[in-house]
Structures are given as C-alpha cells and as structure tokens.
Amino acid sequence: MKTIAELQKLRQDSLDQVHLRKERSGIRVVVGMATCGIAAGARPVLMTLLKESKRKNVENILVTQTGCLGSCEYEPIIEVFKPGEGKVTYVRATPEKAVKIMEEHIIKGEVVTDYCIGAYTK
C-alpha cells in the first residue's frame, strides 16, 4: 500500500466481513424462523431485510433470526428493537412490507402502525 487512505478504504470495505462478531449496541431486527415462520414465508422476508440494510447502508444494525415467537398464525413476524425505544412487532410480513419497514421505521424512525400486531388483533 502506498497511502494510508488505501488502508482506510480497505478497512471500510472489509468491516462487513466481521461486523457480526463485534460488540454492538445498535438496532436489532429479528425474524421468527421456526417451522411455522419458515412455512409462512419468513426466509424471503429475512433476506429482503438483509439486502435492504446493505443497499441503504444502514449502520449499526443486526438482522437475525429467532425461534418461534408463539403467535404462529401471525407469522412471518418481524421484531424491531431500537435502543431506547420499546419493541415493535410486525406480523404477516412480506418482502414488500419488509422494504417499507426498513425505509419508514428503521431509517426514518416512523413506526408503520398498519403492519403492527395491534392492527390485526383488534
């Protein structure tokens, strides 16, 4: 390497390779991926969230899976944990809804109430 700028660029580009293994305090997005979730189509939802977070360069975010959340009839379920805010549960998610949740809630900070569990259980 001839300059430090080169090193910093390579470092920036490589951060994705290890970011999962670092201590973190940022946003956590969890998708229920037990048998019920997978059967209801949770996998494309999870992949969409991952790709969107990368495409929009959302920093300090962790998209991951979890087991059965207990409300199998509402699967696929996405839960969003933002530091300092409560948990928001989205149900009957689709890849399209996932795109919107990423844009509106995670990036702009506005909860998409229409997709929340409250809108379905009324």
Binding site: M1, L10, S14, Q17, R21, S53, V63
Partner: protein
C-alpha cells in the same frame, strides 16, 4: 458482496484440527448447501479459542452460542435447529453457559471472565487466512501510524514506556533490546522472531501464529523501522505445519498489498520477511543457537557477549523477540504506552499467556493480567483439579522452571515473584499436579527431557545433567541413598554456574525446586523405599484386603503367577515375585487389591 445473517466460526487451531474440525467444516458446507443456507450463513475457519479441553469448538454469531465437543453427527442438528430454525441447542453448549432458563454469554463463563486478551485478541475471532478480516479489526493501523507519524526513536521510547518485557522466558525489557539494536553500528541489520516453542506443554506462540499471523508481520515491520532493519526472519519449527502454512499465506497477502516490500505507505521504508524452518531442537529456542540455525549451521549456542544486538545473524546487529512479545506491539502503538503500563504489576506490565495443562479441568490457553494469583488461574480460570483431588504443586516455566507448592499459591504471578519462588515465567507453560503426582518423578521427567535436548557443546550440561538423571533414576527405582540428595544439590549448583547457555543454566531448576519444597518425598524414596504419591512403579507394593471374595480372576491375570489362593478364600500376593504391573488391580471386581 454477500451479506450474511449468521457466522459460524469453527476452530482451526491444531488442537481442534486434530479432532477433525476441518472435516467438520466440509460437512457444514454440505449441510448449508442442502438447506439452501449458503447465501445467508458464512463459515469461518479461525484460530484457537483457548478452551482446548472443550474442543472441537463451534461458535455461532450473532447469538454467540458456544458449542463445545461438537461431533460430526451434531453438524446436521446445528444446521437444522439453530441455523435454519433459530433454536439454540442447549445440550451442545459449553457446560457452563446454560443457566436456569437463560444462556450466559461466553464472556461470563469462569474460563473467560478473568482473562484479558491482548496478544490473543484476534485468535478465534477472525479468519487468519483473510487479510481483509485482520484489516477490518484495525490491522496494520499501527504500522501506518509508525511509518507516517513517528520517528524510530519515538517508537522505541513508546515501547520503553510501556514496560513490555520479553515473553520468551528471560523477561528482558523489550524497549532496551530495541534501543541496543538501533544504536549498534552495522550496514545491514536484521529483525528476527523466535517461534521455536519447545517447552513441553506450551503452545501460545503456535496459537498466535495460527490464529493471527498478520499481527507478527505488522509488529516485525514496526520493529524493522524502529531499529533500522530491512529484513526479517521468522524462525519456526517445522512440526507446526498449520502455523507455517498460515504465516506463509499471510506473508504472501501482505506482499500483495505492499504491506511488506518497498516504500511501504509511501514512507520510503522497505521491509521483507522470510520464514526459516527449524527441525525441532529445544536448544534452538536459545537465541544464539537460533541464529546459528538460521545461518544454516548446526544449532549450537555461542558464548555471549557479543549479544545478538551487536553481532547476530551473519554477525550483523539483530533484534530477536519472541512471538508473544511481538503480538503486543501493535496494540501498544495504537492504545499508547500508558494504557499498557496500566495493566499488570509494578515491574511486569501487560498480560501473559499461559498454557494450562496437567491435572486441571479447563486445559487450554489463557491470557491474564500480570499480577493475577496462581490460585485464580488454577481455580477460577482453570476450573480446579479434576475428580476432587488435592492440589500439590504447579510447575511453571517448563524444563527451565520449578514447582511451586500450595503454600505459595496466592502469589501474584510476575517475572520477579516466580524467580523468588525458585521457578520462572519461561514461555508460560503451567502444569498442575495433584496428590497422585510424585515430585521426584516430575523432576526426573524434566531432566530426561533436558538430557535428550542438550546439544552437547559444553560438558556441564552434556555430562552433568546425565549424571543427575542417573541419580534420579536410582532414587525412583529404590536404589537411592541420602548422600545422593547432597550430590544432586552439588551437581545442580555446578551446572547452573558453568553451563554455556540458558538450557544448561536452568536445567537443574526442576530438581532444585522440588528438593527445596518436597525434600520429604525424596527422603521417603531413599530411606523408606516408598513413593508417597504411589506413582513410582518400582516402589509400589500390592496387597489384597479383606474385601477379596476369592474369585480367582487375579490369579489368572497375573503374568508371573505371584498370586495364590483357593476359590472362595482370601488370596495373597508374593511381593518378591510381583513385578508391579498392576494388571490384578484392573481386573479385580471388588477393588480388593490396593497399591501402597
């Protein structure tokens, strides 16, 4: 580039690799493909996680699930349950992590809680064969800083202020060594890394090279800049094939990115690195013997002075440091010398890696701040002695060190305290012994090693250690006398005084320290012809107790017909005929045969 939602880290250190972790990696690969997860889950081969006892180890991020003693058939389960369905498999987790109904973070487990990882910080976290991962965790930042912002003298001052002392054994202040080499006159200077780790049971250097090889390259380049050397050698034993491979890969990658080569970071500084393989002689860990070996000569020590800082490789000024010493350097540059000096004791700064072995629950590699007590390392980190046995002693410093008994177990570990106790830091081997270990036998074991490894150049070491071993053999076989103990002491003193190099000068230490702390065991061997620990086979006496039911199984198994007895009657052993093989003890279903 792909974004992965989960990383599966598989230990690729020598310990886990010998338990088939590479094959497990292939199996994971197939399983992920089968479940169409290859795009979402990344497999990462890492270096050693330290807890070798629990290997093979697999860690799944982001949950940080620490799976231990994973078997081939568990791969399917982990893939289907955890990776596909997101259910952590509790019964495969390391035994200390599952709590009542939660799962403890691995950092909260006793083994990791008291550790502070500086030299080992990337081991088990990054893939050692991918330079980008090292760079992502701030790799080569220290080199960049040194080459663009610091003068060589500043680098040396930083190191001096940090208080770093050589981790290979002697504990010489690293900053001073760098300064001597920098000030020495010479048209060409060299930087060398001592990776000839020979102490039985010590494997921290291997683990660093296997888990984080780039840190050594970076540190050696920094050292080269500081002392004015353009060429470096890593002397590593050929019996560490995984470490050699990974270092080769790392050097190739560093050259590709011009982190080794000419005009690094446009600073005008050139540095190149080569590997020299050793054939595995213990004496080649001694610096002058190592230098001879690098030059292609027979690995025998030279008299000092001149020291390598003045006349080293090809008689040119040479800086020689150990792997673990180098591994601390980039962190010292990045975090500042005050940070490093803030860890440890007054005269021993930073952390030290120990290889825990022997009678201990958590065998493995641990890195603790200097000043941590032996008790904390053995009981809190090491998890204590297996099977509820009593602690007898801990051997530190390998064949050059000594045994430390229970009464000193609360001593804070640092260079000077261990010397005061008649032992030494050495490279950091720590072998724990329980009530079943005979201290005479332990001393004999280490002497046997040094006799085998003595290069033969100087008579005190070549002949003296051999005589000591003969005396120890006599004692353990019941032919010793009280005068032998005096002879051992006299010989030990002479060998220490007159040997040419560190090997001979420290070889008597295991005998001296055991004679000092456990003289009563030696005396029992020579006066009562008895081994208090029951470990010396030749001194053992077998007898049959009242628990004997007269089943005759022992009669049949005895190879020399030393056991007599009728069916359903108490048997007896003819102790003169008995060859003490112990076969009868193993066979007896009533535990009626005892060894005393």
């Amino acid at each position: 580039m792909n974004v992965y939602r989960s990383h599966v880290l598989i230990c690729g250190g020598t310990g886990c690799a010998s338990a088939d972790s590479f094959k497990m990696m292939d199996k994971f690969h197939d399983e992920l493909k089968k479940h169409d997860l290859a795009e979402e889950v990344k497999l990462v081969k890492t270096g050693c996680f330290g807890l070798c006892e629990a290997g093979p180890i697999v860690i799944v991020y982001p949950e940080r699930s620490f799976y231990s003693q994973v078997k081939m058939e568990d791969v399917e389960r982990i893939t289907e349950e955890h990776l596909l369905k997101g259910r952590v498999i509790k019964d495969l987790l390391f035994k200390e992590t599952p709590d009542e109904d939660t799962i403890k973070a691995i950092e909260e487990v006793g083994f990791y809680k008291k550790q502070k990882r500086i030299a080992l910080q990337n081991c088990g976290v990054i893939n050692p064969e991918v330079i980008e991962e090292y760079i992502a965790v701030d790799g080569y930042q220290a080199l960049a800083k040194v080459l663009t912002e610091m003068q060589p003298e500043e680098v040396i001052d930083t190191l001096k202020q940090s208080g770093l002392r050589g981790r290979g054994g002697g504990g010489f202040p690293a900053g001073l060594k760098w300064e001597f080499t920098a000030k020495a006159e010479g048209d060409q200077k060299y930087v060398a890394c001592n990776a000839d780790e020979g102490d039985p049971g010590a494997f921290m250097d291997r683990s660093i090279l296997e888990g984080d090889p780039h840190v050594i390259i970076e540190a050696m380049a920094i050292a080269g800049y500081a002392v004015g050397a353009t060429k470096g050698y890593v002397y590593i034993r050929a019996e560490y094939p995984i470490a050699v491979d990974r270092l080769r890969i790392a050097i190739k990658q560093a050259k590709m990115h011009n982190l080794l080569g000419t005009d690094i970071f446009g600073s005008g500084f050139d540095f190149d690195l080569e590997i020299r393989l050793g054939a595995g002689a213990f004496v080649c860990g001694e610096e002058t013997a190592l230098i001879n070996s690098i030059e292609g000569k027979r690995g025998m020590p030279r008299p000092r002075p001149p020291f390598p800082a003045h006349k080293g490789i090809w008689n040119k000024p040479t800086l020689l440091n150990n792997v673990e010493s180098y591994a601390n350097v980039p962190q010292i540059i990045l975090n500042g010398p005050e940070w490093f000096a803030g860890i440890g004791t007054e005269k021993s700064k930073g952390t030290k890696v120990f290889a825990l072995g022997g009678k201990i629950n958590n065998t493995g590699l641990v890195e603790v701040p200097m000043g941590t007590s032996l008790r904390e390392v053995i009981y809190d980190v090491g998890g204590g002695i297996p099977k509820g046995k009593a602690f007898k002693a801990v051997q530190t410093g390998g064949p050059s060190g000594g045994c430390i008994p229970m009464e000193h177990i609360d001593t804070p570990i640092d260079y000077d305290n261990l010397i005061k106790l008649g032992s030494m830091m050495g490279s950091g081997g720590m072998i724990v012994m329980d009530e079943d270990n005979c201290m005479v036998d332990i001393a004999r074991f280490f002497l046997d090693f040094t006799v085998e490894e003595s290069c033969g150049k100087c008579p005190p070491c070549r002949i003296g250690t051999k005589r000591m071993l003969e005396i120890l053999n006599n004692i353990t076989e019941g032919r010793g006398t009280l005068e032998d103990l005096d002879r051992l002491e006299a010989l030990a003193g002479n060998i220490k005084e007159s040997s040419l190099c560190g090997l001979g000068q420290t070889a008597p230490n295991p005998v001296i320290s055991t004679l000092h702390y456990f003289r009563h065991e030696y005396e029992a061997h020579v006066t009562e012809k008895r081994c208090p620990a029951g470990a010396c086979q030749a001194l053992a006496n077998y007898s049959i107790t009242e628990a004997c039911k007269g089943c005759t199984l022992c009669v049949k198994v005895c190879p020399v017909d030393a056991i007599q007895g009728e069916r359903k009657a108490l048997h007896t052993i003819d102790t003169d005929a008995c060859i003490k093989c112990g076969a009868c003890v193993d066979k007896c279903p009533f535990k009626a045969i005892v060894k005393k």
